[in-house]
């Protein structure tokens, strides 16, 4: 006879049914990704049966000039987008946290719209915008990525603002008052007191902007001029034709970068909550 293990009534996590449910959910979420990673090391083109360990698909992915270019473009776009988004997001968070001004509520809701608007709507808007203002389509590399960067920053910086704003809530205004009392100017106090306090928020927000940019397909698809290719756009065209281990290898690299960014972002964020 199985002995019933004593369990608090609200200890849902230890209910066998709940454990099974959670296991099911995580199997559903992770099996496809695990299989994708596993088969990037599989010595078989067919992608179904395990034929032995190999790194040749990684070599192939790196030898694929277009894929490499696409990957590099995506990282470059994400990098530039992160820097601009962090600056804009931090300023936005600061202004709404600090000041009272007319039309503040509507403006704040409006500036959060890029977060809720369906990607496809913003995508076509960007396409139309760049077509109508006659944005040059034939700029030399890397300036032909400008449209994509501008579009990515527009939807990424409100996300940064949310993260930074959460961080600012834990700021003790007396610190700034003390800095001002001690003779610092407003700008000095902002630079030397408030920005250092924002820092974990800036890091977490920056990593969020980086992943959002790296992840984006729809808006890039509409914003990119002819001839510019990013990683998601390239994978999209490859997936349309067939499933190849080469795509698995390239995807695994991206997953690795994302996991790393996520872990770093969570670290930064947990530092935020611990201090406050």
């Amino acid at each position: 006879m199985a002995r019933k293990i004593a369990r608090a009534p609200l200890d849902y996590l230890n209910m066998p049914a709940m454990k099974a449910w959670l296991a099911g959910v995580f199997i559903f979420l992770y099996t496809p990704l695990m299989i994708l990673i596993l088969f990037s090391f599989n010595d078989s083109k067919a992608n179904v049966v395990w034929k032995g360990f190999t790194l040749k698909w990684y070599v192939k992915a790196f030898e694929n000039t277009q894929l490499r270019e696409a990957l590099f473009n995506s990282l470059l776009i994400a990098g530039v987008c992160t820097v601009i988004s962090v600056v804009l997001g931090a300023l936005m968070a600061f202004v709404f946290w600090r000041f009272k001004f007319p039309f503040k509520g509507p403006l704040e809701s409006g500036m959060n719209l890029p977060i809720v608007v369906p990607e496809i709507c913003f995508g076509v808007a960007v396409l139309m915008f760049f077509a109508k203002i006659g944005f040059p389509n034939d700029l030399p590399y890397p300036f032909n990525l400008t449209q994509i960067i501008l579009a990515h920053v527009t939807f990424a910086f409100p996300f940064v603002a949310i993260v930074v704003r959460a961080r600012l809530e834990s700021f003790n205004p007396e610190l700034e008052a003390a800095a001002l009392d001690l003779g610092a100017s407003r700008h000095q106090a902002f630079r030397d007191v408030i920005i250092p306090h924002m820092k974990p928020g800036l890091i977490a927000g920056g990593l969020l902007a980086f992943t959002l940019s790296l992840d984006d397909f729809v808006i890039t698809f509409f914003a990119s001029g002819p001839g510019t290719i990013t990683f998601p756009v390239k994978v999209y065209s490859m997936v349309r034709f067939s499933v190849t281990p080469e795509v698995n290898a390239a995807s695994t690299i991206i997953i690795l970068i994302t996991v790393l960014a996520t872990v770093l972002a969570l670290r930064a964020q947990s530092a935020t909550t611990k201090e406050s």
Binding site: Y12, L22, V48, M92, V95, R98, V124, F129, T154, T262
Partner: protein
């Protein structure tokens, strides 16, 4: 909180950049789409803004309505499945200890941070005819054949390029959207109410139905909206996992801009999707205010 007039220069210096950026790269493009949605094609590339509603009227033609109905139906199915799958997860997270909470959150969030295209591609690799599921089934089928059962020729399950695949893909992608607001709402519940309900003899399911669910309504509403809206506007998932009959509204919009080259009609469709989004978020904001600020974000 400081009044902006107390320090005008500093206020202007900090607000200028984000607002200007937002105006140029968001408001102006969206306004252009809106203007186009009431415009007419007057040449291969020229569009006159005439204030017509014909583009919106076109959206009520049977073919377009079919796509809209399709989108709503698929997004709704996705949302309901997400709610059923996510609720126990959120409940388990609520009552887990701190360390388990962090891990569960991380496990839910990691796929969410992974590239959407990669996740869709991973699903294709699992679900296609020569994918892992069908190969496994084929192996099982052959094995049973070896043991002398009459099995006939193996037919792979048609898992891809149909509505089933689209819903699986949408659930796969949107599950975290549901878990997080539910968790945020459940985490704020007064746990003694649940204990009281259990003490007084209600079972777990009855407690969920009559105590937890009513109290978590704003969170559930938030989860429903946050899941339904992106699922409704999803482009990549139906495009890659669906068949030709499973077109959703986003693909239809994309066609007007790329292949069909009917920008005013595409703009109208895009704004219909925008209006639906805004209405849902307005309802959610209203409920949140009524429910005393319980919910996500």
């Amino acid at each position: 909180m400081q009044d902006w007039r107390e320090d005008k220069t500093f206020f202007r210096a900090t607000i200028a950049l984000p607002v200007i950026w937002f105006m140029i790269f968001f408001v102006v493009p969206m306004a252009m789409v809106w203007a186009y949605s009431v415009g007419e094609n007057v040449g291969p590339v020229d569009v006159a803004i005439t204030g017509t509603f014909s583009n919106y009227a076109k959206a009520f033609s049977p073919e377009v309505l079919k796509v809209m109905w399709n989108s709503v139906w698929l997004a709704l199915a996705t949302t309901v499945i997400c709610l059923i799958v996510a609720f126990p997860v959120a409940l388990a997270m609520t009552f887990a200890d701190e360390k388990q909470k962090t891990w569960l959150l991380l496990l839910i969030m990691l796929p969410f941070w992974t590239n959407l295209l990669i996740r869709t591609y991973a699903l294709i690799a699992v679900m296609r005819n020569s994918g892992v599921i069908n190969s496994g089934l084929e192996g099982l089928h052959n094995l049973l054949g070896v043991f002398g059962m009459q099995m006939g020729v193996f037919e792979p399950l048609p898992l891809l390029y149909n509505k089933f695949a689209v819903v699986v893909g949408l659930v796969y992608v949107h599950l975290p959207f549901m878990v997080l607001p539910l968790y945020a709402a459940l985490d704020r519940l007064d746990k003694s109410l649940i204990e009281a309900s259990l003490d007084l003899g209600a079972g777990h399911l009855e407690t969920i139905r009559r105590v937890i669910a009513p109290l978590a309504t704003p969170g559930i509403a938030a989860g429903l909206v946050i899941t339904f809206i992106p699922a409704l506007g999803a482009y990549l998932t139906p495009d890659l996992l669906g068949g030709p009959d499973d077109l959703m509204i986003a693909s239809l919009i994309e066609r007007q801009f790329k292949r069909a080259n009917d920008w005013p009609f595409g703009a109208a469709l895009s704004f219909i999707l925008m209006y639906i989004t805004l209405i849902f978020f307005a309802i959610r904001a209203f409920m949140e205010r009524k429910g005393g600020k319980v919910g996500a974000h």
